[in-house]
């Protein structure tokens, strides 16, 4: 199916171009032949006209000769004049012959007429030269005015008629050429009409096809945007669900399981208080030890899942706890600084905490860093979190682990951005920017929830100074 429009387009445009090229070539050839015909027509007309002129002037000249010789008092040099006359006669005969070679049909009759009259005319002239002096004197005027002039006039009239016919032929030729030209014009017009029509059809087809393609592309784009959005939504929901589960698990471990251990501890205390036998006391001590260890382990586990400070006191105490924990575990020196007013919304708090946690873990595990600075700040319209270490650094273009991707994902869910600035050997600066939403200002009486409303811990937890 995909192939069909392509074939139509190629055939259509190709055909259109071929038609145009063919029509143009044909028109050029036709124009060329028209010009050729026109030139030929003109040349023929002129040649025939010249031939007629030759005949006419021969007739005139011959008349003049005859008159001059008749009017001469002596018949002297008649031979020479006869020879001249003979030349004129031969010349006009050859002119007649050449004219007869291409004769228009309607010229045939007058031409025949002219030819026979000229023949007769020559014969009459011949006769006049055979006269004696007396005869000449006696007949010459009569011959001249009654024989020669009428004949000559008649012949010239015939020649005029033929000339008119010749002109008529020229005009006819012109008309014919005009017709041909008209046909060419019509042909060209038809060709233009055909190409316009073909072009319009093709353009219509192309437009329809392009619109169809556009609609298809639009649809696919919409689909892909939608599926991307739903993917992001899904991953955001997964992150939220995971956090919720961690929070629930942490609370459950802390409030139920650890408390059960502490109840066991208390009961063991109670039994010990009854002054049991020494061997019982040994077992009770053992129970106490196991329960105490269990309680501490469960509590630590709960903290690792989600530190209760995050929900009880807010972001900064949780970050400081995290910093202390990492410090105790790995010897990494972590400084936490914060410029914040009020507490962040729940999702932002969790996002910042998890990002910093991941970053600190990276510092401890991969970066071979000795000191890290964590800074959380509210600036104009946004929350800026930076984590700077003095570790080995890496090339962010090359390898981004799952941890970094996770951080980026978390930041993006809240409409924020995530940047890493690092070079091998130069430490790593991680920067997360979150758009600042309504910051939760602590309520004066957070009685029903486990939210701390005291003075920020960082402000005066250090000894005076």
């Amino acid at each position: 199916m995909r192939q069909r429009p392509r074939v139509v387009l190629v055939a259509g445009f190709g055909g259109l171009l071929l038609i145009m090229a063919g029509a143009e070539a044909g028109a050029l050839l036709f124009l060329n032949s028209l010009r050729h015909n026109d030139t030929e027509l003109q040349a023929r007309f002129l040649a025939r006209n010249r031939t007629l002129e030759r005949i006419r002037s021969n007739i005139y000249l011959s008349g003049t000769f005859v008159r001059d010789s008749l009017l001469a008092p002596e018949q002297s040099g008649a031979r020479a004049q006869l020879a001249t006359l003979d030349g004129l006669r031969r010349d006009s005969e050859s002119a007649l012959a050449s004219y007869a070679a291409a004769l228009e049909p309607e010229e045939a009759a007058p031409f025949q007429d002219l030819h026979s009259q000229i023949e007769a005319y020559w014969k009459v002239l011949d006769r006049a030269f055979e006269w004696t002096a007396d005869e000449r004197g006696k007949y010459r005027y009569a011959f001249f005015y009654e024989e020669l002039v009428p004949r000559r006039t008649s012949m010239l009239q015939i020649a005029d008629r033929i000339e008119a016919l010749n002109e008529e032929a020229l005009r006819r030729g012109d008309v014919k050429l005009g017709d041909l030209f008209g046909r060419l014009q019509l042909g060209l017009l038809a060709m233009i009409a055909v190409t316009l029509l073909g072009g319009a059809t093709l353009a219509g087809f192309t437009i329809v096809h392009i619109l169809k393609l556009e609609a298809e592309v639009q649809q696919r784009l919409t689909e892909s945007v939608r599926s991307q959005a739903s993917l992001q939504e899904l991953s955001a929901r997964l992150v939220r669900a995971q956090e919720e589960e961690r929070r629930a698990l942490s609370r459950e471990l802390h409030d139920e399981v650890a408390q059960a251990f502490s109840a066991v501890l208390m009961e063991a205390e109670n039994l010990l208080d009854l002054n049991p036998a020494p061997e019982v006391r040994v077992h009770l001590d053992s129970i106490r030890g196991v329960a105490a260890r269990g309680m501490n382990e469960i509590r630590d586990m709960a903290l690792l899942l989600r530190p209760s400070m995050l929900d009880d006191f807010g972001l900064l105490p949780a970050l400081e706890w995290q910093a202390r924990e990492i410090g105790k575990r790995t010897g990494l020196r972590v400084q936490v600084a914060s410029e914040m007013c009020g507490e962040l919304p729940e999702e932002h708090k969790t996002c910042v905490y998890r990002v910093v946690q991941e970053a600190l873990n990276n510092c401890a595990q991969h970066a071979q860093a000795s000191a890290v600075q964590v800074c959380v700040r509210h600036t104009d319209g946004q929350i800026l979190v930076t984590v700077q270490d003095d570790g080995s650094g890496f090339d962010p273009e090359r390898g981004r682990g799952l941890g970094l991707l996770g951080m980026e994902e978390r930041a993006r869910h809240l409409g924020g951005s995530f940047q890493i600035d690092s070079q091998p050997g130069r430490g790593t600066l991680l920067r997360v920017t979150l758009p600042r939403r309504d910051v939760v200002v602590p309520e004066p009486e957070p009685a029903t929830e486990l939210v701390w409303n005291g003075v920020p811990y960082g402000a005066d937890s250090h000894p005076a100074g």
């Binding site: 802390h254 409030d255 650890a258 408390q259 059960a260 502490s262 109840a263 501890l265 208390m266 009961e267 205390e269 109670n270 010990l272 208080d273 329960a291 105490a292 309680m295 501490n296 509590r299 903290l303 209760s308 400070m309 009880d312 006191f313 105490p317 400081e320 706890w321 202390r324 957070p446 009685a447 029903t448 486990l450 701390w452 409303n453 005291g454 003075v455 811990y457 005066d460 937890s461 250090h462 000894p463 005076a464 100074g465």
Partner: protein, 216 residues
């Protein structure tokens, strides 16, 4: 000998039962009430006016720290002993700032519990060894920071003496008697100490003393 009236605040029944049993077996202790959440604790503190409240932090309906703040605010004579699972300094410090005098972890021995109760009744402080250690570590760490200087050095010998006595929970009158000074002089010294250490209340002063290892 007058009995020490104790109020238990913990949202776990088993634990409260066990504790009541343990405490009531001790001579001189009487448990006057049990509360399962913060608000109930406030109410019972008001109604029963106990000498000591043994307080859990993680409780529904107002946490133990906030309950401590309100009780100490309203009834300064009630001594609060925090008995919590939390051993992080953020909990310890907030509890002390709220006015708690003792902080025990839930794996505390009976002897620690009894010692803590007696301490707060006498106006002194008491901490689980682990908690003391955490506070002192925190202080040492703070000393290690460049910006922290040791304002303790600013105090005179007499001021240090008074600091210790006040931190131990002695009233101005008791301090005056002990050191053979006039009440007015002790009061002046106290003001100077708070100024020099940049502290604002007795709980802060106690916290400072604990961190410094002046008292434990």
């Amino acid at each position: 000998m007058e009995q020490i009236r104790i109020l238990l605040a913990d949202d776990h029944n088993i634990l409260r039962d066990g504790m009541r049993l343990l405490l009531e077996r001790q001579p001189g202790f009487v448990v006057v009430g049990e509360a399962a959440d913060g608000r109930e604790t406030l109410q019972l503190a008001q109604d029963q006016s106990p000498d000591v409240v043994i307080m859990d932090i993680a409780m529904p309906n107002m946490n133990g720290i906030e309950a401590t703040r309100r009780i100490v605010e309203k009834h300064p004579t009630i001594g609060v002993v925090i008995l919590s699972m939390h051993h992080d300094e953020s909990y310890v410090i907030r509890s002390l700032k709220a006015g708690a005098r003792a902080y025990l972890l839930k794996d505390a021995l009976k002897t620690e519990l009894i010692a803590a109760i007696h301490a707060v009744v006498e106006g002194r402080s008491f901490f689980s060894p682990k908690v003391s250690r955490i506070l002192q570590e925190d202080y040492i760490q703070a000393l290690g920071r460049k910006d922290a200087d040791d304002s303790y050095e600013l105090l005179t010998g007499r001021e240090r003496e008074i600091l210790q006595l006040v931190a131990e929970g002695k009233t101005n009158k008791e301090v005056a008697n002990t050191l053979n000074l006039s009440l007015y002089t002790v009061d002046t010294h106290r003001t100077h100490i708070l100024q020099k250490l940049n502290l604002h209340s007795v709980p802060e002063l106690i916290l400072y003393a604990v961190r410094k290892g002046i008292i434990s």
